[in-house]
Every structure is written in C-alpha cells, then in structure tokens.
C-alpha cells in the first residue's frame, strides 16, 4: 500500500496507477476490514464516479489530486449523513458543507466515507459510539483510542491515505498514539470550525491523521486560513507547512510532573526517556522545567468543556430535526424523552456536569475558577515558549488498552487525556508522532507542542524526528 501522497503522485505520474484503481484498492481494504467498524458509511459509488471524472482531468489538477480522504462523523458534508456517533442524529443529512470539506474538494481530494467516533467526540476509547466500538487494527481486543478512533484506524489499516479527526482534549493525538499514526491538532483558530459539530467550541479543532508528517502538513496547508463563516478562525497567512524544515538544534522543555507522573505506564515512560536521550545525543537541548499545574489539567478541562458542551448540545431537542421520541406527546416530553433516549450515557454525564458548573450558585466556584486556571496555564506555557522551541510529552499515559477495561470508571478514563488537554486549554498546536512501540509491538506516540501559530515550526521538527521512528523503519 502507498503510505504517502508523494508515492501516489509518482505512481500516477508514471502511469503505474490511476484514481479508479486507487479508490478500488481502498474500497477493497475497507471491505476486508469491516470488523474494525471504522466506517459508518462508505461513499463507494460516489468515490468511484469522482475518481473516473478526475482520471479524465489532465490539466489543472489540484494539489490533493490522488488523495483519498475519510472524514470523522462530526464534519458536515452537504447531502451526506452526519450523526456525531449519536442516535439523536440518526439519519440526519447535512444541508451544507463544512469549510474543510469544501477546501479539500476544491483541490481534487476524493472523500471516501464517514468515520465512526465517540458520541459527540466525547470519549477516549471510541466505546461511546451509538454505532458500536471501533477496534484497533493492530490488536482487535484493544481500543483505538478516541474520540477520533475511526479516523486513526482508517489510516492505520490503509482504508484511506489521510483522515480528518477533531481534537477537543486529545481526540486526534491519543488515537493516533494508540494506532501508530501521525495526528495533528492545529493552533486554535487555525482551521475553520464551520461545519464541525461542536463539542466544546473554545477547544475544538479539526486536524489530519496520516502515516507521514508531510501529508498532514499538506492537508493542513489546504484547510487552514481565514473563513468568513468562523469568527474565531485566524486571518494570519498560512505558511507552506508541507515544505517547512527545522534543521537547527532545538531547545526542548520537558514539564516536571509529567513524564514522571504516577499514572504513567512504565513502557511509555521508558520509551519517552529513550527519545529524550536520543534528542540529547543529537545535540538538542532538553531541559526539565517547573510546571505545577498538572493536577489541575483534567478538572479544568472537564469543567470548561462540559460547560460549553451542555449549551452546544441543547439544539438536539427533537423539535426541529434529528431523533424525536415516538412516545413524546407535548413540548416538555419531546425534550425530555428525545434527549433521554437519543443521547448516550457519557454524553448525558457531561451535559449534567456542564449544566451544574454553570448553574446559579456554582458558577463562581467552578466555571469562573476554571477560567482563571486556564488563563494561568496560558501564561505559564507562554513563558516556557519564550525560552524553548517545543514542549515534549508522551501523548497518552498508556498504550492502547483492552476494550471494556476502563468503561466502568469514568475518572480513570478521563486520565487518558492528561497529556493532551493542555494543548487545547492553551490553544497551542500539538502533534503525536508514532516514534516508539511497546515490547508487544503496540504503538507509543510522542507528543510535541509549539507556541501558538508555530504550526509550521512544529511540522518542520516533526519531519526530523520521524526519521527515528521504530514503527516505520
């Protein structure tokens, strides 16, 4: 199988393949991997028709010509179903396209299907989907991570070249780590959220998953940039991520109380330490810096993200679209029954939590205080980036765990996000690189973060690091 867009372009250029045969190969792979449950819907005929059409295009080919992409089930695509992995949107079809889909299509990408995920992107194992869990392709008894589990597995098992996920607290990077692929969370505001079903608006970003850093960088280059439909999208110019290099010696910070945190898996720790040693031996500067807010990360993230979620998910009420309980008889029961039956357990937990932290009498104790800590975090991280190019962390405290292993204890499940929520809380770009593996051969991701709007620098350095990947020899 092709691993990069560059290989595909070369094969197309030499006449070794065309888009129809490329799509056919992916469709075959999707078919033989049905059991992984990564795809909720495959746009087979449509992708073939588009491939045939694009095969006839000999001039003016877009920059993503030959790239087959699958999108997470929370990204709207006109005329296609979108359900955010939820029963409450079962059968719902979007009447408009997200900005990212428009931009990818304009560059001749082929969208091959819609990917399973945790319901409303809430989860770290993809076990919260109303349409069943996704299985890790490397070990089918293990989870792929979440919430973009389908997106990670689709790339892992070569069912598409690149997938789109969304990352609110680690939902791209953690599954990328569990599945051994590259996962990139852009600077907040770098990619338009128009057409992304919101979980927590001030955290959400759409980002790519791929085998290579170059492909994620290329897709980012196409997707990023100002958008009149998203007021939070930055209007800063988009650098050429795909050609960016970082060849200097880097100054890298490692946060205290992270790699040595009590909850970390020993293999994850030793592999992270190995990478740190390797970086040092290559002449990069790696220093441990003080960071005393680690224990606040998860609580602050869950207070603020659930507050926003409780409001963002109010629109799913059974009145205007989506699921309406057949037992509903008047307005109140339309709300109560439709939401009770339409939402899954974890979503309801988070709506309740978010409603609580915003309610009169508790707002100051929870929401306001969490906002304050978020500001403190931003200041501390900015301070670190005044002296360092990157922060290095494990992506997740563990390797892919077994299905059902953590479903009984939500707080243990929430700890799966301990290293990833930081980037969302402060809005910086972060990438998970498949640099290591456990003794059993299960992938371990290493995470790098850079200062806001230093996405290009992050891509540049990531390319250097990927040369040492033990997963991709």
């Amino acid at each position: 199988m092709f691993q990069t867009h560059k290989e595909i372009q070369a094969a197309i250029g030499s006449g070794q393949t065309d888009l129809k045969s490329l799509v056919t190969t992916y469709l075959t792979n999707i078919e033989s991997n049905r059991h992984l449950n990564a795809f909720l819907e495959v746009y087979g005929e449509e992708a073939m028709a588009r491939a045939a059409e694009l095969d006839g295009k000999t001039t003016g080919r877009g920059r993503l010509y030959g790239m087959v992409i699958a999108i997470k089930d929370n990204i709207c695509y006109r005329g296609h179903k979108v359900s955010a992995g939820s029963r409450i949107l079962e059968g719902f079809e979007s009447i408009y396209s997200s900005t990212v889909v428009e931009r990818l299509l304009a560059e001749d990408a082929i969208i091959i299907g819609r990917l399973n995920c945790d319901e409303f992107a809430m989860g770290s194992s993809n076990e919260n989907s109303a349409y069943g869990p996704v299985l890790n392709a490397r070990d089918n008894s293990r989870v792929p991570g979440g919430s973009s589990g389908g997106s990670a597995v689709a790339v892992q098992a070569d069912m598409c070249l690149v997938s789109l996920g969304s990352d609110t607290g680690g939902s791209i990077r953690q599954p990328a780590s569990f599945c051994g692929v590259v996962g990139f969370k852009p600077t907040y505001g770098r990619v338009s959220r128009w057409g992304l079903i919101a979980y927590a608006s001030s955290f959400d970003q759409i980002g790519p998953l791929s085998h290579s850093v170059e492909d994620s960088a290329l897709v980012m280059e196409i997707m990023a940039g100002a958008d009149e439909y998203d007021s939070t999208a930055s209007s800063k110019p988009v650098p050429s991520y795909s050609t960016e290099k970082f060849e200097k010696k880097a100054r890298i910070a490692v946060l205290k109380n992270t790699v040595d945190h009590q909850g970390i898996n020993t293999e994850v720790r030793s592999e992270t330490e190995r990478i740190i040693a390797k970086l040092k031996s290559e002449g990069h500067t790696i220093e441990e810096v003080n960071f005393d807010l680690t224990d606040y990360l998860i609580p602050v993230y869950y207070v603020l993200s659930t507050a926003e979620a409780s409001s963002n998910l109010a629109r799913f009420d059974g009145v205007h679209y989506g699921y309406r309980s057949p037992r509903a008889t008047e307005m109140d029961s339309v709300y109560k029954l439709s939401r009770t039956e339409g939402f899954g357990r974890e979503v309801k937990n988070r709506i309740m939590l978010g409603t609580f932290v915003l309610s009169a009498g508790y707002y100051d104790a929870y929401y306001s205080r969490a906002q304050k800590v978020r500001r403190m975090l931003s200041e501390q991280i900015s301070e670190i980036f005044r002296s360092y190019d990157f922060i290095l962390l494990p992506t997740a405290p563990s390797i892919a765990f077994k299905l059902g292993e953590k479903t009984s204890d939500p707080t243990e499940m929430y700890l799966a996000d301990i290293y990833t929520v930081l980037a969302n809380l402060v809005g910086v770009p972060a990438i998970s690189l498949p640099l290591a593996k456990s003794a059993e051969g299960l992938p371990i991701g290493i995470q790098l973060m850079a200062e806001k709007h230093e996405d290009a620098k992050l891509f540049g350095f990531s390319k250097t690091l990927m040369q040492w990947s033990t997963l991709y020899p």
Binding site: S94, L196, A198, T232, L358
Partner: protein, 483 residues
C-alpha cells in the same frame, strides 16, 4: 380609595426590546425582513443546524452605537457576547446569543416632558441580542406552529433604571424611545407589530421611603397605552394587597388587554436559570474610539436638534416645533418645505392646520400624503401674492390637489375660477353696492356693532364669486364705513 393610594408611589423600570431594521440577521446573512412566508428566511444558522457558527452583523453594532450616543451612554470598547440558555420550540439553538456582563452601552438617559415638566430617566444599559422565532398556538388544533424567519433578527434591549413614577411617565418615556429609534432610523418602533416590545418592573412603596419592595414583572404589553394601564392596574392591586397587610412577592405576570388586568404566569416560567456564560464562538467585538467618532459624525438630526433649529434659525414658536417633531416624517416634511419657502410660520401653520386635519380625518400618515412640499410652498406663495387666501387654499384647493397631485395650485385656481382679484375698483364697486343694500346694518355698525363687518365682507365675496381678496375687501369696507 384614592386617599389611601395617595400614601404610595409606584416605582417602575422598563425593559424595551427594539428590533433593528438591518437588512440581515444579527449573526448570519439571512434576510431580516418582516412579513415573508413562514420559514423562508432560514439558512442552516437560523435553523440552528449542527456545525453552524454565528458571525456578528456590523450594521447592528453601528445601530446600537447610534442609540448609545443619542442617549448619552458610555460605549464599551471590548464587547463580549454571552449565551442565555433555555429550551423553547422557537429557539432552535437552545440558547440566545446576547450580552451579559459587558453591555455595549451603559449609563445613558432618556428625557421627556410630562405634565409640563422635564423628566429624566436613567438607562442602566443597552445591549445587543437576537430575537427568537415565533410560535403560533391557535392556528392548528393539535400543534404549535413555529416560524423561524424572526429567529436571529437583531434586537437591542434598553433597560431603564427604576426612575419612572407613573403610567403617564411610562407612556411618555416609550413615546420618546420610539421617537428616538425612528429619528435614528434603526427600528420602525411599531409596538403593535412587535418590532418594539416592553416589559415593566413594577413595585410600590410609601412615599418618603427609600427602600424597594419586591417587584412584579409584567410582560406581553403590545401598546404604549397597555403599558400605562398595566402600571396603573398594578399600582392599585399592590396598594390593596399592602393595605390588607399581605406580603408582596416577586413574580411575573402577563397583561390581559381585554380584561385590563394583570394575571400571574405559570410558576414554571419563573424557574429559569439561564446559565449565562461567554459565547465561545464569537471573539469580543472591539469598538474603537475612531469608530465611535465616525458614527457620531454621521448621526442624523434628532427631534431635540430640530426643535432648536426650528425655534432659532426659523423663528418658529416652541409649541409648533415640539408638535411637528413628535413625528419624524412630519418634521422631515417641514424640513423640505422650509427649503422651498421663506414664509416659515405659514409652513408650520399648514402642517399643524389643514394638513394635520386632512390626515386625521382620513386616518393617514404623512408619508401617504400625495401633496408634495413644493405644492404647499406654491400655495403659500399664491396666498402671499394675494392670488388666493388661506380659507380658499385650505378648504377648496387642498382637496383638489390631494386628488390631482400633479396639477399646479395655480392651474387649480384657474380651473375652479377662484383666482383672487385684487382689483380695487371692482371690489370698491361691490362694496358700495353692498353697503347701499343694508343701510340699517351700516347704522348699527357705526353705532358700535363692529362684528357686522364680517357680513359685509361675506356679501362682497359672494358678489365676486369668491374671488375678491378678503384682506383688501376688509380694508376697503373699513374705510368706506369710516366715512
């Protein structure tokens, strides 16, 4: 009863929602026009579809800054939006995007006249928000029908301080607010159609007390008269409760215009905890000093500016100026007229006299008047030139001109054969003949019954078929009678 009530005073604060007359909605490009077929002005944003995001209508910000400046408010530089969360069938997002802790305008005031005195009511705030859709409960026997055309139409909410002390003051306050939004051209100010809506917070206290008692919020008042009546009703009701020694409770009531009473609303509607929090989808809107200056420089003239101009530049009586500026369109008509005639007082008289009567009698607005200011200016010129007189012009010619707005006043005079004569010889001949016909009356006049002059003038006019210049006739007759 009235003597009991006299011990108390009513304390009122008003919340006015005004729909801004922007072309598009507050947070998306859908048309904000009123009256389209249901659910035809709805994009995915208005429908609250998943994945949609708001963006701020800059025009709405400009409109709100305008009223902020017109009310002497402080304009905030950094404007955060907030979500107000509640479930209702005509609120598709499940929250309204409004402003909570950072209203665009603060600490302004509204001034008006009531019972001959100037009254100033402080404004706590004016903030931006969006309207909900419209639910109709009585069209279908089983279902409530929801129209989302109105969902997302920009609103400002003008919140007064509790400075209002009577139903009359509330009425005048609302009149002034309506005048303001109309002069600023930011809202059509029509309460009956719902483009301006009002809730009243009403409490009472013993005169001389300084504390505040629990207040009643009265909703659903669709006219200024109803606001006044609801306040008066609430005052009496609360006085009665207090006199009976009952405790007043904070509550929400609705006004029933048919019965003229306020009624408690279901307690469920009170239990709202709106869970306000900053709207994460909208970065703060920054209103710079330069921007405010530019809006200020482009501000239209308000009624108070026009009153000053009419009384100083044009020498009109303050009464005329006030009455004319009560209605923006009338004032604008006068503005046009003042550029076309130098006889300013005559211009004002025409508006306050014959034009106003004609409009009242026919239940018309001045915007519907077919007669253009140029025609009125021509009429004034004809009177001043002695070619006709005010009575003929207002009673005979005006109806003709209304019916034939393109005809010139002079042509009407000629067509009706009403062109006034200033032929002294002809008038003198007629006058001599009239006096000869009534020797007794002449004697009576000369004996002191000066009122008889009208009779002689009338006779001369009749003799001239209405064409004699009445002023000249008057003068000639007076001279003849003086001997």
């Amino acid at each position: 009863m009235s003597s009991v009530s006299d011990k108390y005073e009513v304390i009122v604060g008003l919340e006015v929602h005004a729909q801004l007359s922007t072309l598009s909605k507050m947070y998306c490009g859908d048309s904000a026009a009123f009256g389209a077929a249901p659910n035809t002005q709805v994009s995915p944003v208005s429908l609250g579809h998943p994945g949609t995001l708001p963006r701020v209508n800059r025009k709405a910000i400009e409109y709100a800054v305008k009223i902020g400046l017109a009310t002497g408010s402080t304009i905030r530089r950094e404007n955060q939006f907030a979500r107000k969360n509640y479930f209702y069938a005509d609120l598709p997002k499940g929250y309204q995007i409004t402003q909570d802790k950072t209203p665009l305008c603060e600490n302004g005031f509204i001034e008006f006249e009531v019972a001959g005195e100037r009254k100033r009511v402080g404004l706590e705030r004016i903030h931006m928000e969006e309207d909900a859709g419209k639910s109709t409960h009585d069209l279908d026997p089983y279902y409530t029908l929801v129209d989302l055309n109105r969902a997302g139409v920009p609103l400002i909410e003008i919140v007064s301080r509790p400075d209002i002390r009577s139903g009359d003051e509330a009425y005048q306050y609302l009149t002034e607010v309506r005048k303001l939004v109309r002069y600023l051209d930011i809202c059509d100010g029509n309460m009956e159609e719902g483009s301006m809506r009002c809730d009243a917070n009403i409490s009472i206290r013993l005169k001389g007390d300084t504390g505040l008692n629990p207040r009643v919020e009265v909703k659903n008042m669709n006219s200024m008269r109803n606001v006044k009546k609801a306040i008066e009703y609430e005052f009496e009701r609360q006085v009665e409760l207090m006199e009976r020694g009952e405790r007043l409770a904070q509550e929400t009531r609705g006004y029933d215009a048919l019965k003229g009473v306020t009624l408690p609303q279901r307690s469920k509607e009170l239990a709202h905890d709106y869970r306000y929090f900053p709207e994460p989808d909208l970065p703060p809107v920054i209103v710079t000093e330069e921007y405010v200056d530019a809006v200020r420089a482009a501000m239209p003239k308000l009624s108070r500016d026009l009153i000053a101009e009419y009384t100083t530049t044009y020498g009109l009586p303050e009464y005329d100026a006030r009455v004319i500026t009560d209605d923006k369109d009338t004032a604008f008509y006068l503005n046009d007229l003042l550029t076309l005639t130098k006889n300013y007082k005559a211009a004002s008289n025409w508006l306050l006299g014959p034009i106003k009567s004609y409009l009242n009698e026919n239940a018309l607005e001045i915007s519907e008047l077919t007669v253009k200011p140029q025609t009125i200016a021509d009429l004034i010129a004809l009177i001043d030139a002695g070619k006709t007189n005010f009575a003929v012009a207002s009673q005979r010619m005006l109806p003709e001109l209304v019916a034939n707005p393109t005809e010139s006043p002079l042509a009407v005079l000629e067509r009706l054969n009403l062109l006034q004569s200033s032929d002294e010889g002809m008038i003198k001949d007629l006058a001599v003949a009239v006096l000869a016909k009534y020797p007794d009356k002449v004697k009576a006049y000369q004996a002191g019954q000066k009122g008889l002059l009208g009779l002689f003038v009338g006779e001369v006019m009749k003799g001239s078929a209405g064409k004699a210049d009445p002023k000249l006739t008057n003068k000639i007759l007076t001279e003849l009678l003086a001997g």
